[in-house]
């Protein structure tokens, strides 16, 4: 693949993140469902990793993690490493074990979200500022409401992949 084509491809993928970012950052927090709003950025990383493989997934995770940490309030800098790892593992799992399809993406997204929720729960338990039942009462609706968005976000990236994904521009 030529450098120009590569840049073109990843520019399109980056532009695709913009509406997801704005939805997650500025729109959905205003309209919570069951008291929570979804977290869409890990799903974007999982979708790209599923379609493009582990190295591209890790790179996309790194960029998305940086965006998340630097623009959102109260997001730990560990998310940079966590989303990179998510991209790497999702890409590897879908490439070598599962399938590079919506089903592989759904399974891996569920796993990624589960890890996110577990880390939140463990963090607050460590600080001893909350009881397990309250933490679970936040984590479960957040997980479910976020998971619902996996398919639409995968569809966005799949449509892009069909146009510019893989080595199509070569």
């Amino acid at each position: 693949m030529t450098r120009r084509a590569l840049l073109h491809k990843w520019l399109i993928y980056a532009l695709a993140l913009i509406p997801i970012f704005l939805l997650d950052w500025a729109v959905l927090p205003r309209y919570p469902l069951f008291g929570v709003h979804p977290t869409l950025l890990p799903l974007a990383v999982a979708a790209v990793a599923t379609l493009e493989g582990p190295i591209s997934g890790a790179g996309y995770g790194l960029a998305t993690g940086l965006l998340w940490t630097t623009t959102y309030a109260g997001v730990s800098s560990l998310q940079v490493a966590l989303l990179t790892l998510t991209g790497l593992l999702v890409g590897s799992a879908t490439q070598y074990v599962l399938s590079q399809s919506i089903w592989g993406c759904l399974v891996c997204s569920a796993g990624a979200l589960l890890v996110q929720e577990m880390l939140h729960i463990l963090f607050f338990l460590f600080l001893r500022t909350a009881t397990v039942d309250t933490l679970v009462a936040v984590a479960v609706p957040e997980f479910l409401w976020t998971f619902v968005w996996t398919a639409p976000i995968y569809l966005i990236y799949y449509l892009i992949y069909r146009k510019v994904g893989g080595t199509k521009l070569a």
Binding site: L22, W25, A26, V36, L67, A73, S76, L88
Partner: protein, 280 residues
């Protein structure tokens, strides 16, 4: 395993870990101020956030006008009645103030003088996390806002404390957030305690007034204000009303559950207290 990571993005993972560490260490040292990268990202993305907020606010206003006109009309009538009642209370208060001044002069007491420097800001967005209660406001260090500044509404109700400042925006921890801790007191009886956020209560939109003494006098409905103890935060700002009083698990102290005076989902414009002085 080593080959697996080398061939599948292991280097990127190492870079990500180093970046995480760098950002983490920077945030610890800067404490309350955002790191340079976040400053740049926030400055670049702030116009988009403000644009989306403005568009949503317009759309919500239009929706309210079209579908809730009767409700808005009734709310207007109620507010007009409230204004009339408050004007009458103000006239009574002016009489009381004059009498207070005369008595102070008679007894040789000096008046307490309160000076505040306010900065009006718009609320850009509500909390982007389900695990904390924060709002983002439209001004930052460029407007002289610093971490630790109080944020209030136009009616003097406390919204929260500025927890993080970037060049053009700031993050405010609301009064129900878990990192809040300040002196509070019941305005009717002057019973003092510590206003604290609590994760369990935060999910219900509440906070607590802890470390109440055994002799503290308060009942449901009592108004709670900031006490200004330690002179870190100004006194007299309304935090909320007592919902219920409980005994601490240790049985040594009591605490009250407080319903905040502010509806955080309804905020459009608030005021940051950049400086204050309370002198005798």
């Amino acid at each position: 395993m080593k080959d697996f990571f080398r061939n599948n993005g292991g280097l990127l993972l190492v870079i990500a870990l180093l970046l995480s560490l760098l950002l983490g260490i920077t945030s610890v040292f800067l404490s309350g101020t955002t790191d340079p990268i976040s400053n740049v990202m926030t400055a670049v993305t702030a116009p988009f956030r403000n644009g989306v907020s403005a568009a949503l606010a317009w759309a919500e206003g239009a929706y309210e006008y079209v579908f809730h006109y009767e409700q808005l009309h009734q709310e207007l009538s109620d507010l007009k009645q409230q204004v009339a009642d408050l004007e009458e209370a103000l006239r009574d208060a002016e009489d009381a103030t004059r009498e207070n001044e005369q008595l102070r002069a008679l007894l040789g007491l000096q008046e307490k003088h309160r000076d505040f420097v306010f900065e009006a800001v718009r609320v850009s967005s509500p909390s982007t996390s389900n695990w904390e209660s924060t709002i983002t406001i439209s001004k930052g260090s460029a407007a002289g806002i610093e971490a630790g500044d109080c944020v209030v509404t136009e009616t003097g109700a406390l919204v929260g404390i500025v927890s993080q400042v970037s060049y053009s925006t700031s993050v405010v921890s609301t009064v129900i957030n878990t990192d809040i801790e300040m002196g509070g007191m019941v305005s009717r009886t002057y019973s003092a305690g510590v206003l604290e956020g609590d994760f369990n209560l935060m999910q219900e939109g509440l906070l607590r007034l802890s470390y109440l003494s055994d002799g503290a006098q308060l009942v449901a409905g009592d108004e709670v204000v900031t006490s200004g103890m330690g002179e870190i935060y100004p006194s007299g700002f309304v935090v909320g009303r007592v919902e219920a009083v409980f005994s601490d698990p240790s049985g040594m102290t009591r605490y009250a559950v407080i319903q905040p005076a502010v509806d955080f989902s309804d905020l459009i414009e608030v005021f940051v207290i950049k400086e204050f002085s309370i002198e005798n």
